[in-house]
């Protein structure tokens, strides 16, 4: 995983609540067996007609939003299916940061596994960012993970909370499995009793 330190980019506003993972990456694109290449299908039903022609009204079909890398959206972002294809599609499209007032648990967790930073901010701050991004196409912000700040091009800065362990893993781009395997002896020890594990054939 690529380490995440700071990121500066254009904000794309999608002022909707409950944006689900079916909307982020519709199921017809989940049949691929690779991790890459999902960006072209991001928000497919909102971006494209069924015949594949772009829908001009959708924000990501409008320059300069089309080259945005920070997504700002309504509450409960990423609800629904556990599909990790959702953060894969966001990252593959070019989004490194998602800002919302709340996230669904599984999606939130999946982001950190892929070097995407989900930032939870109070609803008023999200509303302000949405308004600025809508009023000024190309409006940018800088996210500093070490300092835990989002600073807009107009100079406003807000602090965000992040779990210290997740922050450390993201800053260093650490591989979870590698970290866990350092404790193989403790897993061996647990397995000697493992009170609820029932091996099947």
């Amino acid at each position: 995983m690529e380490p995440f330190h700071t990121h500066t980019g254009i904000l794309a506003p999608i002022p909707r609540a409950n944006i689900d993972t079916d909307a982020i990456i519709p199921k017809q694109f989940l049949k691929r067996i690779e991790r890459s290449g999902f960006g072209s299908f991001l928000f497919y039903d909102w971006r494209f007609q069924s015949d594949g022609t772009p829908i001009p009204d959708f924000v990501l079909n409008q320059a300069p939003y089309s080259s945005a890398s920070i997504l700002v959206a309504g509450p409960n972002f990423g609800c629904g299916s556990s599909r990790e294809h959702a953060p894969w599609a966001l990252l593959d499209y070019g989004f490194h940061v998602i800002i919302a007032s709340s996230f669904a648990d599984i999606f939130y967790n999946n982001c950190f596994k892929n070097g995407v930073l989900p930032i939870t901010l109070p609803e008023t701050d999200v509303e302000a960012l949405l308004a600025q991004a809508q009023a000024q196409p190309g409006f940018t912000a800088t996210v500093d993970l070490r300092e835990q700040t989002v600073t807009t091009a107009s100079g406003q800065s807000v602090h965000f909370a992040v779990d210290p362990y997740r922050k450390m893993c993201l800053l260093e781009g650490l591989d979870d499995i590698g970290l866990t395997l350092r404790h193989a002896a403790q897993i061996d020890e647990y397995e000697k009793t493992a009170p609820f594990a029932v091996a099947h054939a």
């Binding site: 002022p15 909707r16 609540a17 409950n18 689900d20 079916d22 909307a23 519709p26 199921k27 017809q28 989940l30 049949k31 691929r32 067996i33 690779e34 991790r35 039903d45 069924s50 309504g74 509450p75 409960n76 609800c79 629904g80 299916s81 556990s82 599909r83 990790e84 953060p87 709340s102 669904a104 648990d105 599984i106 967790n109 999946n110 596994k113 892929n114 779990d163 210290p164 362990y165 979870d176 499995i177 970290l179 866990t180 395997l181 404790h183 193989a184 403790q186 897993i187 647990y190 397995e191 493992a194 009170p195 609820f196 594990a197 029932v198 091996a199 099947h200 054939a201």
Partner: protein
């Protein structure tokens, strides 16, 4: 005396491999269920890093999301679906994982076969790359959905890095009225408290209305915990649970079962244990539910009307409702029972079990579906299908005009050829009514099996209590 604990805390504590301040807990996983859609990239990751599957004997795979539900003797026509199914088969062979393949008698929706094969047991930690893994909580297991990176993590280590969840008690008092089902209970709960009230929590469902539920009904409730935002929801095991499990193939047998039962009886929340949050819900006043929007929380009583966004005080809710009504092609104020439907889907990990099919068949028996309606029943597994056929339920459905299909996820997420056409309106026993979930521009109304069956016959929604 030890501090009183919740069931959630007891299961958690029994699975801690390693705890270190400032780090997530390393939690042991007892059962890892695998399917074709969220696993290929995880196996590829293992190969790239030269890792093995630590416990193939605690791992079990099947194909469900992508499989056709039509004649299985025919080849799969979608080459990409076929590749995903073939890839799972090759991965299971290479890594030694048991697989209920497409032609196996054990094949079915992963959350239907886990319980029916006795793989799902009280006290276990259970994960799967699927958000509806919460279903298995019905047995007093701590069961939750994970992403593909975590699938790889569990394959390699049989553990997960997890932060202890907050605990929530959902106490359901009273008893469900006649003609009102477990599906109405969970839909009603989400309609009242929203799709995020469980975020960050594991829910324990308690109270007389919960205790009275059958295992199938408990699975329906726990299944949709994720629609309330909770990764997991569970119910303490009791005699209903043990009666369901006795004799299941992978459950302990004979004297071992009796010994296990004694241990499982300890799996309950101690008197005076404190939850981080608690909500109450009255089962007694519940009415059959129908969703009208594009989020599972957008639900109404079948006796009610499509709500008017203009009456909503919260601007976010109003905007969401406006978008939903536009997508759903509905007008505010329309009585729910006047909504005419085109399609009916009975099946899924929420409502594809034998009791669900019995409930639907009871409504359908001796009747014919409305002439403009296309309806299908997709059993949750082969074993469910066989049982239903032994009971003659398939004849009831087929004579009424339903299609009787092979098991799989089917139109719950419409990854296979079972898809709504644009504009089609479906009464569905599944769990999500998101935009495009059952097909681009398809319109989904979530209901119980009895409500779906009644809608198939009438051609519009009806109050199933009047059929009782």
């Amino acid at each position: 005396m030890a501090r009183p604990q919740t069931l959630i805390d007891k299961i958690w504590d029994a699975h801690v491999v390693r705890e270190q301040a400032g780090e997530p807990t390393l939690l042991y996983i007892d059962l890892h269920l695998v399917h074709e859609v969220t696993s290929p990239q995880a196996f590829e990751g293992l190969r790239t890093s030269g890792r093995k599957v630590r416990r193939p004997d605690l791992t079990y795979a099947t194909v469900d999301h992508n499989v056709p539900t039509t004649d299985r003797a025919l080849p799969i026509t979608d080459p990409i679906s076929k590749q995903q199914i073939d890839t799972l088969r090759a991965n299971c062979e290479a890594f030694g994982i048991p697989l209920a393949d497409i032609h196996s008698r054990d094949q079915g929706v992963v959350h239907v076969i886990g319980p029916e094969l006795g793989l799902t047991l009280p006290g276990k930690t259970i994960v799967c790359g699927d958000s509806h893994t919460s279903t298995h909580g019905a047995f007093g297991a701590l069961a939750f959905g994970i992403g593909t990176s975590e699938v790889e993590h569990v394959l390699a280590t049989e553990c997960l890095q997890q932060t202890r969840p907050k605990t929530m008690e959902v106490f359901v008092f009273g008893q469900l009225p006649s003609g009102v089902t477990a599906k109405d209970l969970i839909l009603g709960l989400i309609a009242k408290y929203g799709t995020a009230f469980g975020t960050g929590y594991v829910i324990e469902y308690r109270g007389p209305a919960i205790v009275a539920l059958s295992m199938e009904e408990r699975m329906t409730v726990c299944n949709m915990s994720i629609e309330a935002g909770a990764r997991a929801g569970l119910i303490a095991p009791d005699d209903t649970t043990f009666a369901y499990l006795q004799g299941r193939r992978h459950a302990p047998q004979g004297a071992d079962f009796e010994a296990a039962k004694q241990r499982w009886r300890q799996l309950c929340t101690d008197a005076d244990a404190a939850f981080d949050a608690r909500i109450e819900f009255d089962a007694q006043t519940l009415v059959p539910q129908v969703t009208w929007g594009t989020s599972p929380g957008m639900g109404a009583d079948v006796t009610g009307r499509v709500p008017d966004p203009a009456q909503m005080a919260d601007p976010v809710a109003r905007r969401s409702a406006e978008l939903a009504l536009a997508y759903m092609g509905l007008t505010a104020g329309t009585p729910m029972q006047e909504i005419r439907i085109d399609r009916v889907f009975i099946g899924s990990c929420t409502n594809g079990r034998i009791e669900d099919l019995r409930a639907a068949a009871k409504v359908v028996q001796g009747k014919t579906i409305a002439s403009h309606v296309k309806a299908m029943v997709v059993p949750g597994s082969h074993l469910v299908k066989e049982q239903a056929e032994r009971e003659g339920l398939h004849d009831i459905f087929v004579q009424a005009g339903f299609e009787w299909r092979e098991p799989g996820c089917s139109m719950c997420l419409a990854m296979n050829p079972d898809v709504l056409a644009p504009g089609e309106r479906c009464a569905s026993t599944s769990n999500r009514n998101f935009e495009g979930r059952q097909g681009r521009d398809g319109r989904t109304h979530l209901v119980s099996p009895a409500m779906a069956a009644a809608a198939a016959i009438a051609g519009h929604f009806v109050d199933t209590r009047q059929l009782a």
